[in-house]
Symmetry: C2
Subunit: 370 residues, 2 copies
């Protein structure tokens, strides 16, 4: 019998704190009948004093994440620092060592997915990233497992809570984008620099990860359009930054809600994808996904359309997916892509043309999704 | 390298036909990177002539399912006959032989789950039953895997398409139960003997399976209440058979829809469970789950509430779950309960008390679920 899995956590922010707490306070919940238990080997943080004040035992702490990655006794690296570097280098180093990695980092997966998948396949280390899409909502696992026999034709969803909160508040309160954004920043739903959310980058990152799982292809994140067309033929402002309350009111009068929808569709020569504000029927499930909820729909043959919904962000919810991935590694379940075909090359997304548009007062031509 | 998995299918009805067709016509979709392929070893049917006319090669057909179960070269038995016997005996015999079993049979799992789990655990054969709840919607797998680190506190849902179709049609058309049922029978949405659906047995069977997965306990299906209380203190008619259009109209006037909700909740001394018509907010996701759609919600800590929705029945959709289970066995993924705690004993469900009721014109006191 192998001993417990030794887990090192990099980053003790909103998600990291919850993961550390779960491993320390309820390790029995991570010890399943068919796998070894889990112990915390160390926690790397930027600010040691704050982590100690937050209740993480000093003996576990370090401000040198590379040491935890290099330690031969570490079985799993849990990367929860977010952002590009040093996360990318640390993940790559762990995988190159043969150490398995769990990450919630959609930026790194979307921008460096092919390279990281190549390393993981070469060394046999597991790379798991369920938490990178939809927070605690199971979606990558079900695509790879329960839906494994399907040909997936489309994935679409509302995958960014910040923009959905802003659009929902604009619609319900009739207040302007800038006002609601400022409120969201004060309430902690939007960051001080909100561009990654409101311009659609975060949703595009998640769409790249979803598309890899659904279609077995890594899309170049930069190739994914994230601005609606204008009546003039030019491109509008990216993400939700050009959506006005007049647009929302005019859409509502036609029975539509405006939502930031990330969508990728199987096409003849590749995958067509976009992250743009879209007109969805008010009465539809996407139209009624309000506030910080996420909803992801998967169209497959033979299954038809299945949907996954729930809290797409937040430390506690996201920790559920991270902990589930740690348990999966303890069980020897391998990488998130499971039996989905290998892909370590990068390709551009094709344009996702709309069959029907809603031409809004601002001049934006929002695609209609029924 | 082990050869392909030899699969024998028992039953070629709505689901069986789709499973057989998939294995014969697109075997490559069942051959994943990390597992062997799948071949069809045989198909057992009651009516050989009809199966041949339906396009199944005569060389694969038999009317003796026990021969396929006993054949030493069969790796997996896929039981899609439905009902109690002979399905129960055939599943038990296969598991006792060490042959893995995939089934969509909620009746057998709900009534004989503890005994079948005991045999599977003794011989090490895998027993998988994703298709027994929610048709093609992934739900048992996600509870066991992506949500493995959670303490599940409740599972609830609309899990019977026939009753939901009838209630939806009564609400939208203002027509009486008997009329809508007769239409549903003509359209093939309800069986000639509809009692298993309309009296709540089918939903109770599915709730037993969901509760096993969520709580690690097998509930006695007969102990699950399936009739609303009446104002008189007595029990009303079972399932939806006592729901009137007056009840639905009065509920709508108060902002509620009447839905047949199956619910199981963690309690101090066990699991409280019921399958009763319930008043759910019209604007809620359950309230808006209409027609033959299913929706299953899972409340867990730390995840919060996640939901799974889609087509809960139909041959094509359900075949997705069956085929996913076959692939899982090819990968060596074991039984549907995965690391969830072992349980081979039976216990009674506790009463599920409602905090709030909607007292309907018929005298029924429908629990309110907000």
């Amino acid at each position: 019998m192998k001993g417990p899995l030794r887990v090192a956590v990099l980053g003790a922010g909103t998600v990291g704190r919850e993961v550390v707490r779960a491993i320390l306070e309820r390790p029995e919940s991570l010890r399943l009948a068919d796998g070894p238990g889990v112990v915390l080997a160390g926690v790397a943080v930027r600010d040691l004093g704050r982590a100690i004040a937050g209740g993480i035992p000093e003996s576990l702490l370090t401000d040198a994440p590379a040491h935890l990655v290099a330690a031969p006794e570490t079985d799993v690296i849990v990367e929860l620092m977010g952002g590009d570097e040093p996360a990318r280098t640390l993940i790559a180093a762990a995988l190159a060592n043969g150490t398995s990695v769990v990450t919630a980092n959609k930026h790194v997966m979307a921008h460096h997915g092919p390279a990281l998948e190549a390393i993981a396949r070469r060394t046999g280390a597991a790379l798991r990233f369920e938490a990178s899409v939809g927070g605690g909502i199971p979606v990558l696992g079900p695509i790879a497992h329960e839906l494994a026999a399907n040909r997936i034709d489309a994935v679409r969803g509302i995958v960014n809570g910040t923009t959905n909160f802003i659009l929902s508040a604009m619609a319900s309160d009739g207040r302007a984008y800038g006002d609601v954004l400022a409120d969201a920043q004060r309430a902690g739903y939007a960051e001080a620099d909100p561009r990654g959310d409101v311009e659609g980058d975060d949703a595009a990152n998640k769409l790249v990860v979803l598309a890899r799982q659904a279609f077995g292809r890594w899309l170049s994140v930069g190739s994914i359009g994230r601005a609606p067309s204008l009546a003039s033929g030019e491109l509008g402002l990216p993400g939700i930054t050009g959506v006005t309350i007049e647009d929302i009111a005019a859409a509502a009068a036609r029975g539509f809600a405006i939502k930031l929808v990330a969508q990728a569709v199987r096409a003849q020569n590749g995958v067509a994808a976009a992250v743009v504000p879209s007109a969805v029927t008010l009465a539809s499930a996407l139209g009624r996904t309000d506030g910080v909820l996420n909803r992801i729909e998967v169209d497959g043959v033979p299954v038809g359309r299945v949907a996954f919904a729930g809290p797409g962000a937040g430390g506690a919810a996201t920790s559920s997916a991270v902990l589930g991935d740690i348990i999966a590694i303890a069980r020897g379940a391998g990488s998130s892509w499971a039996g989905r075909s290998a892909t370590t090359s990068l390709e551009d997304a094709l344009d996702l043309a709309a069959d029907e548009t809603f031409d809004a007062p601002s001049g934006a031509r929002y695609p209609v999704i029924r």
